[in-house]
């Protein structure tokens, strides 16, 4: 009888926990965020791709940010470049996604998140091509009506992620890759 009660209590506790997690009002989500990366060198064809279906989640309570971009979702102007990007450089079949998990540092969303755009420091780990790298960047955040807009950019280099650029194309691809992002998150 006693164990039965404890079990029941546990069950209720679990239910409450699950409910509070799934119905939390702190999460803002964007399923169609934009990430653009550019590694163009002057005088050569532009090396630029856009992913318009990046997922981004921001928790205003904990300030945690997570973003996920599927490699095959990056579209280039030149289809051969897209093919090479997936097959030779990113090896998208083995590493299909890039994931960023981080946090906005020293920011109080309740007090400072409004129509006025503010710059915030973000620190986190970017994982792609099976390698991880700590990223520190300054993003701009603002909230207009019920949409939180996060924009910003940072740089990475292919060697950080063990991506080897063959000699023939080495001077056509920049050593430093500029990544910019534009998320419009709505409450879920």
């Amino acid at each position: 009888m006693k164990t039965y009660k404890i079990n029941q209590l546990l069950l209720i506790c679990m239910c409450l926990l699950i409910c509070s997690v799934s119905f939390s009002q702190d999460k803002y989500i964007d399923k169609n965020g934009t990430i653009v990366f550019e590694a163009s060198e002057k005088l050569f064809e532009e090396v630029k791709a856009t992913n318009k279906s990046t997922t981004a989640i921001y928790n205003i309570e904990t300030n945690e940010i997570a973003a996920l971009a599927l490699m095959k979702g990056f579209r280039f102007k030149n289809s051969l470049m897209e093919e090479h990007f997936n097959e030779n450089y990113m090896e998208s079949d083995s590493y299909p996604k890039a994931i960023f998990k981080g946090k906005i540092i020293d920011f109080n969303a309740k007090e400072n998140l409004n129509e006025i755009a503010v710059e915030v420091n973000v620190k986190g780990v970017l994982e792609l091509h099976g390698k991880q790298k700590t990223i520190e960047a300054i993003f701009t955040i603002q909230k207009i009506n019920n949409i939180i807009a996060i924009t910003g950019s940072f740089t990475v280099s292919p060697s950080d992620f063990d991506i080897e650029i063959p000699k023939i194309v080495r001077n056509k691809i920049a050593k430093v890759v500029n990544v910019s992002l534009d998320f419009k998150l709505v409450q879920k």
């Binding site: 399923k31 169609n32 279906s53 599927l70 095959k72 289809s79 051969l80 079949d93 299909p96 996604k97």
Partner: protein, 130 residues
């Protein structure tokens, strides 16, 4: 003799032209046109989610032309969600005409599995049931 030289020059110019055309065609070949490609796999939205969730089989479906259907559970600016498990982005369809709770059948390219939201993403889709 002179005729021969002119002949050789003409032939080589024509050959060079063909080679150049072929290289250009290879370097700047057009993007895939998903809507005109044949369907590789046709399966329900829940089945598609289940196969994409398993890393071992998902690679078999990524980048393939998939036909799937489900009930629209959310309509956003440029995408719809089917049965809460498939996110579909269209090539150039006005999603505002699509209504919640209606059944939609789409054909598109499987981009991959998003484990943050537990969604399968499909892009370059076209509607096949209207």
């Amino acid at each position: 003799m002179k005729k021969k030289i002119i002949y050789i020059i003409t032939i080589s110019i024509v050959l060079l032209g063909f080679a150049g055309y072929a290289i250009y065609g290879y370097m700047y070949k057009p993007h895939r046109d998903i809507s005109s490609e044949d369907i590789d796999y046709s399966l329900s939205s829940n089945d598609l989610k289940n196969v994409m969730r398993a890393d071992s089989v998902s690679s078999q479906f990524i980048d393939k032309v998939i036909k799937t259907e489900g009930v629209i559970t959310s309509v956003e600016q440029n995408s719809v969600v089917l049965n809460d498990v498939i996110q579909v982005n269209f090539i150039n369809t006005d999603v505002s005409i699509l209504k919640l709770k209606t059944t939609l059948s789409v054909k598109g390219r499987c981009v991959g599995y998003d484990d943050l939201l537990e969604l399968v993403k499909i892009d370059q889709a076209t509607i096949t049931n209207h």
